[in-house]
Subunit: 303 residues, 2 copies
């Protein structure tokens, strides 16, 4: 199998994309415990939380406190999601060095999720990117529903490329293509990533955010890596989903992705055995089994 | 994404590889109902059962009766698994036109599963293939643990190619590479299939039997198709597993595979919507949820 990169970066999003839909609220101490656990396994980018209104997402209300209490390791990037300029201001007060923000490539998804059109979202995110870049923050700008929309179906790659081109011109560090509804397939992932790769500057990293709704998460990961992706969003245990997208399930499980990448000779610097223990801790705290596979095998790997 | 075939054949194995480990025994009428259901959805090869000793696998004791009661459709292949010459004799009495048989590429797996060495198994299967070919039966010869063994770990591709070469020389119609323990990954599947494809005659079809133990089933399917596989084993709902291999789970779900293939433009002639109904019937009869994804989505596909 050709074209697989030698090494990629994984961003674990369990504490944000995962916990944001859980009923159980995690304390600052509990979140710090998982951050330490992820660091100990070798995870080098951790999405700590989001700077959003606590009324809408109470699970993320302590994000500022987590950042203030964090013992930052020099080789780990602690990132967060913001939705607007207020979030950017909070992130700046927390000395965050890396931020994610995104808009949807689907008009319907955009309206349902944010009560804004794509055009309005573009105006807003432009200001956020410019503000972040001016403050020296590495910006990752995302495109939700890039591989299909639960409401609209197919999404034009032209729209995705237009948004990517704007992001590139604004100086973002990374462009994230999100399969929010899990509607991508290996062919569409390969084609879209290849096209975006040809469209934007070489300096821009491409990353993928893949929901495993139809079981194609790992297949899509491989196709993305073959097409030029160098960063991948995953979630401990496969924790997560999206409350706004019918039937959407979580990201690919970090431990499953690392196991598969290890076996294919793609380095991540992460020890999946340790992640299994961490997933089991998360399952104990949530009182249910998570969708990831590796944590549930009697014999995860052969002799 | 390059190298995907335009059309492939799926063999549904739920009635054999699936039901053989279920406590609930399925009657002839119940099996016929599922066969009719699969036919109606467009499945064109169905593994009806196995001709094995009823003491060891009571779930398959009525295989002869199912074959006798079957209303055979001209465009459907009804196949079965045999383990020895006695099975071949029973299959001949049932007018079976297509048969599967296999040995393991792992010495330990072979001993544990059949109390025979690989060498002894080769002698036995040689007689079975010759007997089948002489009787005009299309033979599919399989190699279990081809992509790794739950006991031994890595399996030498040399051993797999040696067995494949013998099969080819005996005139088999198809060679099946089985990832019995779900230890394959896209890179190893691509490399092994490519190598076997270069090793055996062009007239031999290559097929894959992929257990989804570590969530890589569909990713491995795509890699196999890119390397020359034209036939794929699947199982309705993902029903199945292997009682002899710790942690092994079932085949990739037929409906999940067909959905993914449809989306990538690879034709199967199968309607996955119909399979979802059939999976739900199977779940009702077994009283539990099966691992396949598509049957459990509120909205299986976008508008």
């Amino acid at each position: 199998m050709h074209d697989l990169p030698k090494r990629i970066l994984l961003e674990d999003e369990a504490l944000r994309d995962g916990l944001q839909i859980e009923k159980r609220l995690f304390s600052v101490a509990e979140k710090l415990q998982f951050i330490k656990g992820l660091e100990a396994c070798g995870v080098r980018r951790i999405q700590v939380g989001s700077f959003v209104h606590p009324k809408w997402v109470p699970q993320m209300a302590n994000t500022d406190d987590v950042f203030h209490a964090l013992e930052r390791q020099p080789d780990v990037t602690y990132t967060a999601l913001i939705l607007n300029m207020k979030g950017l201001e909070r992130a700046l007060r927390c000395n965050v060095s890396h931020l994610s923000m995104s808009i949807s490539a689907s008009e319907t998804h955009s309206q349902k999720n944010t009560q804004r059109s794509i055009a309005q979202s573009l105006v807003e995110i432009r200001g956020m990117i410019e503000g972040g870049v001016a403050s020296g923050i590495a910006i990752r700008a995302g495109i939700q529903s890039a591989l299909g929309c639960g409401y609209e179906g197919a999404i034009s790659p032209d729209v995705v490329c237009d948004i990517a081109t704007l992001y590139d011109s604004l100086g973002v560090d990374e462009i994230n293509l999100a399969d929010s509804a899990g509607l991508g397939n290996p062919r569409s992932v390969f084609e879209l990533v290849s096209r975006v790769r040809r469209t934007v500057s070489d300096r821009v990293r491409l990353s993928l955010h893949l929901h495993d709704t139809r079981g194609l998460g790992l297949a899509n990961m491989v196709a993305g890596l073959q097409a030029g992706v160098v960063t991948l969003d995953t979630s401990l245990g496969g924790l997560g989903g999206c409350p706004f997208i019918p039937g959407a399930t979580g990201n690919i499980a970090t431990e499953d992705a690392v196991y598969a990448l290890d076996e294919m000779g793609v380095e991540t610097g992460i020890d999946w055995h340790g992640l299994i223990d961490l997933t089991r801790q998360m399952e104990t705290m949530l009182g249910r089994k998570l969708p990831g596979r590796m944590a549930h095998l009697a014999v995860p790997k052969a002799a």
